[in-house]
């Protein structure tokens, strides 16, 4: 009995579950006021509206406050090691293309230790959604600067201010050829929910940066509120140049879908190749025959 799993037929759940039905019952450990609560609420709403069966959803994360996410959702979850959520998710997706795979984590997990995996996830363009809860800080380890912290930020680990310039995750993703790039904000739950739905529905790799303040170590609520704005109606998300222009803006943090493009997903492409080369009645016996003396 060789364990090739027959992907179960993917069926949207007829049960019409409410967001509450997707709660695992594990109470979130986040600080009161943490932006991640907002992300969780929007996420629950989004998946209930998409009517994703709970057993068909896999949520993968790394390590961080935000990476505690999977525990709070009634779904399959994988709380990985720091920075490795994306390749874990890739393994799940390739093994189980029938699943909806959502990767979640923080800015440190994603853009610092996990950085090496992002350009590759993007170029593979597997059908995975990556939601990065960006608080511009390391929350769980109590407030060190992250790759998205503004230059000069004062923290215990940077008592005289940081010298390095922050990364712009959207610009980076566009630079790697991402097929779906967006930004949301935990305090705009309705729009965030829509973005999450769109991200999950995109066939390919989708990167959703969610501004999600850390009230305890770097409270950016007011700051984010003052500089966020939705992308103007004239922005065409299929226009890469326009996407780049808005992504580059440092005065205003635009929210919405910056870019979107249809391009073959790795899982689909690999499956097509596999279908081409799979040979019926081909197995170890046949392989062995090639090595007969």
């Amino acid at each position: 009995m060789v364990m090739t799993l027959e992907p179960p037929k993917y069926i949207f759940d007829p049960a019409n579950l409410t967001p509450n039905d997707y709660k695992s019952g594990v109470p979130p450990v986040w600080c009161p006021g943490c932006g991640d609560y907002g992300v969780l609420a929007s996420f629950l709403k989004a998946i209930s509206e998409l009517r994703i069966p709970r057993e068909q959803l896999a949520i993968v994360s790394g390590i961080g406050c935000s990476s505690r996410f999977p525990a709070f959702v009634e779904a399959y979850g994988f709380h990985g090691t720091h920075g490795r959520a994306l390749p874990i998710a890739a393994g799940i997706k390739m093994a189980r293309p029938d699943l909806i795979v959502v990767t979640m984590g923080g800015d440190g997990d994603a853009f610092s230790i996990g950085m090496g995996h992002i350009p590759h996830a993007i170029r593979r363009n597997m059908d995975i959604t990556y939601i990065v809860m960006d608080n511009e800080i390391y929350g769980l380890t109590k407030g060190q600067p992250s790759p998205t912290s503004p230059i000069g930020i004062l923290q215990k680990a940077s008592p005289y201010g940081t010298v390095e310039r922050p990364l712009n995750p959207l610009q980076l993703a566009l630079g790697c050829g991402a097929t779906w790039v967006a930004r949301g904000f935990s305090s705009k739950p309705k729009e965030l929910g829509e973005l999450i739905k769109a991200a999950i529905q995109h066939k390919g790799f989708s990167l959703l940066q969610v501004l999600s303040p850390c009230v305890t170590f770097y409270d950016t609520y007011d700051h984010f509120k003052s500089i966020t704005k939705f992308l103007p109606a004239e922005h065409n998300p299929r226009d890469r140049t326009s996407a780049l222009k808005y992504a580059l803006d440092e005065q205003t943090l635009y929210m919405g879908v910056f870019y979107q493009e249809e391009s073959e997903a790795f899982d689909a492409g690999y499956a097509a190749m596999r279908a081409r080369v799979t040979t019926p009645n081909y197995g170890v016996r046949e392989i062995m025959n090639k090595y007969m003396r």
Partner: protein
């Protein structure tokens, strides 16, 4: 002086090309004739070019090692003569290009000159010198010429013209010897009766392992190229999609193992393969797999370190990293096959143990085994039994708890898609449901549970025959080894037995957990235990001492080459002397000893297998 075992080395500059091909084609011709072959080679440190040698040992019965000395040296250049002539046994043969200088006049060695340039010119095929040489060798050893033709056809069959040139070259070499060199062939290699009818494969350790993985139901592989593991990835890149599986070349080793864990979580039997530096990078995730109780097979084809070290050379130096490399105590399993053939069957055990006990299994092959080509009996697919993962039964009515404590420590697992089986694979300490929890109760329960599983796996030793037990069980001297050194050890033991020295041999293939009862019983019967290893520290030796509080004699070699049979034999002799109850000798202590390279070949002996 005809003999029924034969060791031939071909040497030359790899830039000139064909050295490896010459050796390989010759080995295949012998195999085709029903003989057993065992090859070794060096890999030049240079990226292209550089000196290489390819060695073939041939016999009617199974060959156990590369052979300590040469019966024949085929030298394509002067450097090869200088390097290797001393290894040729007295009475042995030197084949050289007589158009290219004279052979040294070493009294004891018979020089056979082949006018390779002339012969090549005569057939107008300058690059044909290798195949001409092969033709000559075929005749010298009286191998069937038809077989040679078939092998050449397989090798060059794609291009008709090239094939014809090569067949002509083969004939030319054959004829030259027939006409010019003494009528009786110096060696007559006759296959065993009926050998030609047996199904036998010619393959390398990595090929055997890869095939085993597919037989074991592996349907997901992610890897990152690294010498000498890359060809496992390449093998599976070609074969996995054909059997419905997936192979991904990841961006690095960490991502490779992460993908494997993801695939395993999804329900597939999954594997990665790397070498030392890659395994070092994977340690964090190996601990994670132990904690989340995910099956995974991690192959380490060991190459000489430390660090980048000597990537094309062998070591057995990753044992301790494999056992002890994670942060804090993360129970898992470490296996090591002993031969090319064994790679096939053991990797199946690796998958079964991983799935059955829901643990990562590290599989320690090594560079020597991985590149060596050998004849092995066709794999017995009826021996392949797949052990399924213990799955939760959604119909059971019981609420699912991923890390439920059980007598065996193994908890039924759900797979995504199973309704009600939702859980989080949790790297934090957790309760039965997989929720983070550091309470004393759960900590104790889970630490014990994870360790219990692995302790239990020890009990498979007998049912899976996870060891080789050879030699004479009544012997005072025991050799307790692991991995690919078994060949040289077996030859040395046979030689010792011939001399009247009895030796018992135990090769456990499960190295962690160490098979307690098996080893205890084995060492209790001995006065002295020799632990031969290809590493500096004597890694298994120290593990044995740690667990059994008994000094062993650690025989070590760390130069990147396999043991020589005579090195093991010499140690057996030495220990035998020490054990003799002569009052003078008893004072001398049987302490650990390293093999230091001996420059001169040992006196000639007759190989047995």
């Amino acid at each position: 002086m005809p003999s029924n075992t034969l060791t031939v080395r071909v040497g030359g500059d790899s830039a000139a090309g064909g050295i490896i091909t010459t050796g390989e084609v010759f080995a295949r011709i012998a195999a085709f004739a029903g003989l057993e072959v065992y090859t070794t080679r060096t890999i030049p440190a240079e990226i292209k070019g550089g000196h290489v040698m390819f060695q073939v040992r041939i016999a009617p019965t199974e060959v156990w090692s590369q052979g300590d000395e040469l019966d024949m040296l085929v030298a394509f250049d002067q450097q090869s003569i200088e390097r290797y002539l001393a290894l040729v046994r007295p009475g042995g043969i030197l084949v050289y290009n007589s158009n290219d200088g004279n052979p040294p006049t070493t009294g004891d060695i018979v020089p056979y000159g082949l006018p390779l340039n002339d012969l090549a010119k005569s057939i107008n095929f300058q690059r044909g010198r290798n195949i001409i040489t092969i033709g000559a060798l075929v005749k010298l050893f009286d191998l069937p010429c038809e077989g040679a033709t078939v092998v050449i056809e397989r090798q060059f069959g794609r291009k008709k013209e090239l094939l014809e040139q090569n067949l002509l070259a083969l004939r030319t070499g054959y004829d030259y010897v027939e006409q010019n060199i003494s009528a009786t062939a110096p060696y007559q290699l006759k296959p065993r009766q009926g050998a030609q009818k047996e199904e036998r494969l010619v393959l390398s350790g990595n090929q055997s392992l890869s095939m085993g993985a597919i037989a074991a139901g592996c349907r997901f592989f992610a890897g990152y190229p690294i010498t000498p593991a890359s060809d496992i990835m390449e093998f599976l890149a070609a074969e996995l999609p054909r059997v419905g599986g997936t192979m991904i070349q990841a961006e690095d080793e960490i991502a490779a193992l992460a993908m494997v864990l993801g695939a395993s979580y999804g329900g597939l039997r999954a594997m990665t393969a790397t070498s030392g530096p890659g395994l070092a990078l994977m340690q964090e995730l190996i601990g994670h797999a132990a904690m989340t109780e995910l099956p995974a097979v991690i192959v380490d084809v060991q190459r000489a370190g430390p660090s980048t070290g000597m990537p094309t050379k062998v070591t057995q130096g990753d044992l301790r990293m494999s056992v002890f490399g994670t942060n804090d105590d993360a129970p898992h399993i470490v296996l090591a096959p002993v031969s090319v053939e064994d790679n096939f069957y053991q990797i199946i055990h690796a998958f079964n143990l991983a799935e059955k006990y829901q643990v990562p299994v590290i599989f320690l092959s090594d560079q020597d085994m991985s590149v060596r080509m050998q004849t092995v009996p066709a794999f017995d697919l009826t021996r392949v039994k797949l052990e399924p993962r213990l799955l939760w039964d959604p119909e059971s009515g019981e609420k699912f708890a991923r890390y439920k404590d059980t007598p065996s420590g193994v908890s039924p697992m759900s797979l995504p898609g199973m309704k009600g089986g939702q859980y989080v694979a949790e790297g934090l300490e957790h309760n039965a449901e997989g929720e983070p929890n550091y309470d004393l109760h759960w900590r104790t329960t889970n630490m014990e549970k994870r360790a219990r599983k692995v302790r239990l796996a020890q009990q498979e030793i007998e049912s899976l025959q996870l060891y080789e037990r050879l030699g004479d069980d009544r012997a005072d001297i025991g050799i307790l080894g692991w991995g690919s050194t078994i060949g040289q050890v077996m030859e040395a033991v046979e030689r010792a037995h011939a001399d009247g020295i009895k030796v018992a041999v135990l090769y456990p293939k499960m190295l962690y957990p160490l098979p307690r009862a098996l080893i205890e019983e084995f060492i209790a019967k001995r006065k002295a235990i020799i632990v031969p290893e290809l590493n500096y520290a004597g890694q298994l030796a120290r593990m044995i001492q740690a667990e059994f509080w008994r000094e062993v004699i650690s025989l070590r070699k760390f130069h990147g080459t396999p043991f020589k049979t005579r090195e093991v034999y010499a140690e057996i002799k030495r220990v035998n002397e020490l054990l003799k109850p002569a009052p003078k000798r008893a004072a001398k202590k049987a302490t650990a000893k390293k093999v230091t390279a001996r420059k001169k070949p040992a006196p000639k002996r007759k190989a047995r297998r």
